[in-house]
Amino acid sequence: MSATQPQERNQIQFGVFFQGVNFSTIWTEPESGSQIDFESFRRVAQTAERGLFAAFFLGEGLRLREHLGKLHDLDVAGRPDAQTQLAALAAVTSKIGLVATQNATYNDPFDLAHRLQSLDLLSGGRAAWNVVTTDNAWTGANFRRGGYLDHADRYTHAEQVVETVRAIWDSWDDADGSARLVARDFGAFDVRGVGRLPRSPQEHPVLFQAGDSDEGRDFAARSAEVIFSAHGQFEAASAFAADIRRRTALAGRPADDLKIFPGQQFVLADTEAEAHEKALWVREKQITPATALAFLENIWGTSLADYDPDGPLPDIDPVVEVTGETRGAGFRAKKSKETADAWREQAAAENLSIREFVFKVGGRLEGGIIGSYQQVADLLARYADEHIVDGFNISPFLIPSGLDDIVDRLVPELQERGVYPTEYRGDTLREHLGLRPPLTRRGEPGDAARQTPSFDLV
């Protein structure tokens, strides 16, 4: 709109995470659509593409979540296979990146490499792999090898799987369609074979990673191209960016080689007051009375059905020492008694009921960005100017309509400020994100690995 908009302002980008699990997705409202109908996925992906989002992101389900030894029944559950769904979405989109979360423990390296490359070719170079890792035997009960991996080895294993998958992608010789043998020993098993497909226009699917521990951050700094984080608030994001860039440089890479995309929820309205009112509504809908009790039960390890969600925290002590792993990563291995004591103390001090307390500590909106379109655009412009993130991975709280106001209202505000793209930079995800060539394909100029293969026929 303005003819004097700054041209060289740093920009941020968006991705969207279609979650399919957790209580951040509101399922109780008339506008809460199907979580499994393909039309819901199509609508979100196409809306995101209309908003020039860099990526559409799917999680991976390997075991249906449980709560107190039974199937967890309060949250959205049931999701498609990530890559298969993204292959279908590749047909109804043309630019947006397609990110599949795939576990390095329960996917076989050759099969995984082949499927990721299939998606990359079908989508014309828009695929990405969000590598995650699990060790628990509970998940392994759905797979041939069971719980074969020690907790301590999970990152080492994941990094080795990443290295192997890249070697498989690199094994194809563009000159004659032959492929070099790739053989790797994983201890519990060893694999040997050759790649079966040529590389896509972006050469390799982009590698995303989300671990937040020291080990996870170092793994990302060595191997990943995009890191998700939980650090979306300004100061936390700033500290995280400094830490990640330091680690990336220490790993011998340019500090900006690893792009930073915190997960984030946005609650937006015309005015700040309306946005805060809406945020209260979202919180109420996300944390139902039953969800509030279940949140505590996960620490207490026993049913708290007799407690009033609007009353004080339970006076009994937890019956377990540590929380289990059946509710997903957010709850993993917390010390129960210690946590319960701290929570009771905090709730008493602040005079909070069970539900109010869970609003506070378990609320998906804590750390979320709430405000008017203009306010939030100004805030995000600061993130861009300070370059403390490369973008945000947005989790909409409503499916499939949750991106509409972001795309229709926030994106234009950001574009006016010059801090958001006004067009896709190219056709591949690697281009959208401004990434360098894959780590294993950065030879010196003139090296065979540096030559860009011809893709005019694809």
Binding site: W27, T28, S32, Q35, I36, F38, R42, G61, L62, R63, L64, L71, H72, D73, L74, V76, A77, G78, R79, P80, D81, Q83, T84, Q85, A87, A88, A90, A91, V92, Y106, N107, D108, F110, D111, H114, R115, S118, L119, L121, L122, S123, A141, N142, F143, R144, G177, F186, F189, V191, R192, G193, R196, L197, P198, P289, A290, T291, F455, L457, V458
Partner: protein, 348 residues
């Protein structure tokens, strides 16, 4: 004549003839291109085929067959989409989830050809012990059983969204499958709700030792068809290679020219070489013997066009074959009864 005489077409690279790619002047990249795949699938749908099949091998240069089927799902509206998914070394949990995803993306048009390739090179890729042909059939049979249980593990009305108790799911309608086989076990339940068809139609090669809903046979002789039915298949489809007369060139001459580049030994299945009228006659005859025929065109770019131009319209006119209708599932269009959920009874 079967009420649901099905006609499927196998979409394999440039065609069934080993020289098809050379003859069509197609490179590896062209054969792998998404646009090439989509063009043939749409052509198959326009022609009126019941289904397209997508072959795969864990050792060949092909885009993953499940992803091919999924990619074309939103680009088609009536055509059945039947990928090969191998099951001797792969993870049954993943395969079942992937196929269910195709069924959702296609609104109930997915099928599964069970791959039973036990090649030791595949075992080495997966880091598993190689198995012989007999054990391979047993493992694949287990994989089919796991998939069937997982597809039933959510009852159709498991998602309740009950705002009085705040329950999204009725956990009594979601079931552990507790499969314990000789070489693997799977706990369940499925991570994806019950697919639109309930049970996705399972196709197996009649000689594979694995029994599904539909047996693919290489002979229409009464004995072969009966044997497949006796083994437990509800439907029997015949495999048939085809090379048609085209543009003034007899089919036999086309094959001869292709054979000069690379001989077409075939897969031990029947072959029709000749004019469209003869094929129409043959298929009409076969419609009285088998429930469907899967055609393997010699050169996709040429024979698929002839089939759509001169063969399927004629079969439609004579009532031998009816194209699938938008909004029907693959089960319906091939003549399988609605599937019953094995777990639903416990709560009825």
């Amino acid at each position: 004549m079967s009420a649901h005489f099905s006609l499927a077409v196998d979409l394999d690279g440039a065609g069934a003839h080993p020289a098809a790619a050379d003859a069509a002047g197609l490179t590896t990249r062209e054969l792998l291109a998404a646009s090439y795949l989509a063009a043939h699938v749409r052509e198959a749908e326009r022609a009126g085929f019941t289904a397209a099949t997508f072959p795969d091998s864990p050792l060949a240069t092909r885009i993953d067959a499940i992803q091919r089927a999924s990619f074309v799902a939103p680009q088609t509206s009536a055509l059945g989409l039947i990928p090969v998914a191998h099951s001797v070394y792969s993870e049954p949990f993943h395969v079942a989830t992937q196929l269910a995803t195709v069924d959702f993306a296609s609104y109930g048009r997915a099928g599964w050809i069970v791959g039973v390739d036990a090649d030791p090179r595949i075992a080495v890729e997966y880091g598993r012990d190689a198995v012989g042909p007999e054990l391979a059939a047993a493992v694949a049979t287990d994989a089919v059983e796991v998939a069937r249980r997982l597809w039933d593990s959510w009852e159709d009305d498991a998602v309740i969204r009950d705002t009085t108790t705040w329950r999204y799911l009725d956990r009594d309608k979601v079931h552990y499958v507790d499969f314990e086989g000789a070489s693997f076990s799977v706990k369940g339940p499925s991570i994806i709700p019950r697919p639109p068809q309930g049970q996705i139609p399972v196709f197996t090669d009649a000689t594979s030792g694995v029994v599904g809903d539909v047996a693919l046979v290489t002979s229409s002789a009464q004995a072969a068809v009966s044997a497949a039915r006796d083994a437990g298949a509800r439907l029997v489809w015949l495999e048939l290679e085809v090379a048609l007369d085209r543009a003034g060139l007899p089919g036999a001459e086309r094959v001869e020219r292709l054979d000069a580049i690379a001989p077409w030994s075939g897969e031990g299945i029947g072959r029709y070489v000749g004019d469209a009228a003869g094929l129409v006659e043959l298929l009409a005859e076969l419609s009285g013997q088998v429930d469907g025929v899967r055609l393997h065109p010699a050169v996709l770019a040429e024979d698929l066009e002839e089939l759509g131009r001169a063969v399927l319209p004629e079969l439609r006119r004579t009532g031998t074959h009816t194209p699938p209708v938008v909004g029907t599932t693959l089960r319906q269009s091939i003549g399988l009864p609605a599937s019953v959920n094995r777990y639903a009874k416990a709560n009825a």
